[in-house]
């Protein structure tokens, strides 16, 4: 390790010369240590704490971005959200229900398929070939994958319909619109979860599995009784991160279905974007975003608690 011996700590030598005891030294020591966090703290305050406080202020006003302000309306934007007859209330809960449908389909599949694939790769030769290939779509952008799937899933002459010799209205009719969005999303992000589960599988002691096999347990038995319990913590982590990621669904409906048919794939984030940046209703939109953030934090902390308690 290269340490330059010629450079002395200026603080220490200065304090020692004055000889004013530990208190001064400790103060300078503490301060100089604190300085290391300053660049981060400045960014943290400017681009996370300030927006949160600013968001509270915006949500209490009928904020118009073109004017850069608006009249104070108190909690009106929030109380609106709990009345289904209002525009934002209606859109919030419709978006919430739509997003919930997506989460309920994608999260179980984003756990089961990667688990299955990770186990297959773990138990087969050519690991270093299969793992990167299946991981690959994760590095692509949401916009790239939606552009490609939008092309693949065209009803007229779309390559997918051609391969399966069908005429399925993928992007324009329900339930196909949800199936399309789920298909693209799972194709895109299963590699991410697979890599995490695979790493957990490699941590299982080989002797444990060997012992089970000598006792006559078949492949399925080993999987169900040895593998699953050993990776359960990782699986609950996967559920939490997949739920959060799925809940933030935005690019796929915006770019694949435009929220259609009949707003049935309008996700919560998409509604918030529409209200804020197309209708310029930033006050109500911020209230929607905050309520969504609170719900998301509650759901993920419940999931986290539940998965921890089972240990």
């Amino acid at each position: 390790m290269m340490i330059d011996p010629t450079i002395r700590d200026p603080d220490i030598s200065y304090v020692r010369k004055i000889g004013n005891g530990m208190a001064v030294y400790k103060f300078w020591d503490s301060l100089s240590s604190f300085l290391f966090t300053i660049p981060f703290l400045v960014c943290f305050v400017l681009f996370l704490v300030a927006p949160l406080i600013f968001g509270v202020i915006i949500s209490l006003h009928a904020w118009n971005p073109l004017v850069g302000g608006g009249p104070f309306v108190g909690l009106h934007n929030y109380t609106q959200l709990f009345r289904l007859s209002t525009l934002t209330g209606h859109d919030f809960w419709l978006g919430f229900a739509n997003t919930a449908i997506f989460v309920c389909i994608s999260v179980p599949l984003l756990m089961v398929i990667p688990l299955f694939l990770a186990y297959l790769i773990f138990r087969s030769p050519l690991k270093s070939l299969f793992r990167p290939i299946l991981f690959f779509p994760t590095v692509l952008s949401a916009t790239a994958i939606t552009t490609v799937w939008d092309f693949l899933l065209q009803t007229q002459n779309g390559p997918v319909n051609n391969v399966i010799h069908a005429h399925i209205p993928w992007l324009v009719r329900q339930p196909w619109a949800w199936i399309s969005i789920d298909l693209a999303t799972i194709w895109w992000s299963m590699g991410f979860n697979m890599v995490i589960i695979y790493a957990a599988l490699t941590q299982i002691p080989e002797s444990t599995m060997e012992a089970a096999r000598i006792d006559g347990a078949g492949s399925f038995r080993v999987f169900a009784s040895i593998v699953i319990p050993q990776v359960r913590n990782v699986l609950s982590f996967i559920i939490v991160i997949s739920t959060i990621a799925s809940f933030n669904l935005f690019a796929q409906p915006m770019l694949m279905t435009s929220g259609g048919p009949n707003d049935s794939t309008m996700s919560l984030s998409y509604f918030i974007y529409e209200h804020g940046f197309n209708d310029f209703q930033m006050g109500p939109a911020t209230a929607m975003a905050f309520l969504m953030g609170i719900i998301l934090a509650i759901v993920s902390s419940i999931q986290y608690r539940l998965s921890r308690r089972e240990d």
């Binding site: 390790m1 340490i3 330059d4 450079i7 002395r8 700590d9 200026p10 503490s30 301060l31 100089s32 604190f34 290391f36 966090t37 660049p39 400017l46 681009f47 996370l48 300030a50 927006p51 949160l52 600013f54 968001g55 915006i58 971005p65 850069g68 694939l117 297959l120 087969s124 299969f130 990167p132 290939i133 991981f135 779509p137 994760t138 590095v139 692509l140 952008s141 916009t143 790239a144 552009t147 490609v148 799937w149 092309f151 693949l152 065209q154 390559p159 194709w187 590699g191 995490i196 790493a199 991160i241 935005f250 770019l255 918030i272 804020g276 975003a289 905050f290 969504m292 934090a297 993920s300």
Partner: protein
């Protein structure tokens, strides 16, 4: 017994090959369509009349579709952010993990709590904040919001905690100050974690869609993800060969990054799962 094991191995490999084919099928279509003349899109995965005409057309549309400019924007923004985040987070994580100072616990708890704040809650206030200082549609707006990256601090914190104390003590004995200790001991030793953080940050920023969508308004300031979508969807929505050409160009940097750093990338993904 041996034949039984061999046949199950065959089944496993068969299933995995099928999974790989499904994974690569859309990518293959994207590439082939990029080399297909406009009239012949959809016809076959192997273009009958392969052409680079789409690339020529695309580069010719310099005003409506400045894809090289967008590519440069994306690369610039992602690189700057990755460097900034790594530097800022490394300094902060070093102090939190290895130094004693007043307020250390408070800052650490703030970092942890902020991990649950979803981006959607910050979207509109961040926009209003940048609009207030006339910074919308600038590189500042595209880079700065990513620098409050608490996840990076947490990741490096966990790495720094694991470095043996003896190294730090020996350096203090030799009279090295904290900055020297960080620069000469912790930064070199944490290269795997730091490189991973830089790589993941680069990937996330390069691929981000939501923030650049609202943070930019003029065509030349768009990043690739937004530019290809906003312009293409409004003007070239049925010209699939042109869209696939633009998409292909947009994924090339990430494909190169993936080919050279797949190990670190997958390692990085695993590190996000460590608690």
């Amino acid at each position: 017994m041996l034949t039984g094991r061999r046949s199950t191995n065959m089944i496993k490999i068969f299933v995995l090959i099928a999974a790989c084919v499904i994974t690569l099928f859309p990518v293959a279509w994207m590439i082939s369509t990029a080399f297909t003349p406009n009239g012949e899109a959809f016809s076959s995965i192997i273009p009958a009349h392969a052409t680079i005409g789409n690339f020529i057309t695309l580069f010719g549309l310099r005003d409506q579709f400045p894809i090289i400019r967008w590519l440069c924007n994306s690369l610039l923004v992602a690189t700057c952010t990755a460097v900034l985040v790594t530097l800022i987070d490394s300094l902060a994580a070093f102090a939190l993990a290895r130094l004693r100072f007043w307020g250390r616990k408070v800052i650490f708890n703030m970092v942890i709590v902020s991990l649950v704040v979803p981006f959607i809650a910050l979207l509109i206030p961040l926009y209003v904040e940048f609009a207030k200082y006339n910074l919308i549609d600038s590189y500042w707006a595209l880079i700065l919001p990513y620098t409050s990256n608490a996840f990076g601090v947490f990741l490096l914190y966990q790495f720094f905690i694991g470095i043996p104390n003896e190294l730090q003590e020996a350096a203090v004995m030799d009279g090295a100050n904290k900055l020297i200790i960080w620069k000469n001991i912790f930064l070199p030793l944490s290269t795997p974690a730091t490189a991973t953080l830089a790589l993941l940050t680069f990937m996330n920023v390069y691929n981000d869609f939501f923030w650049p969508l609202v943070a930019t308004t003029s065509t030349p300031m768009r990043t690739l993800t937004v530019g290809v979508q906003v312009v293409s969807v409004s003007q070239y929505s049925t010209n699939y060969p042109l869209l696939m050409t633009a998409t292909l160009i947009s994924v090339i940097p990430m494909v190169i990054a993936f080919l050279f750093t797949q190990r670190q990338l997958m390692q990085g993904v695993v590190m996000t799962g460590i608690k």
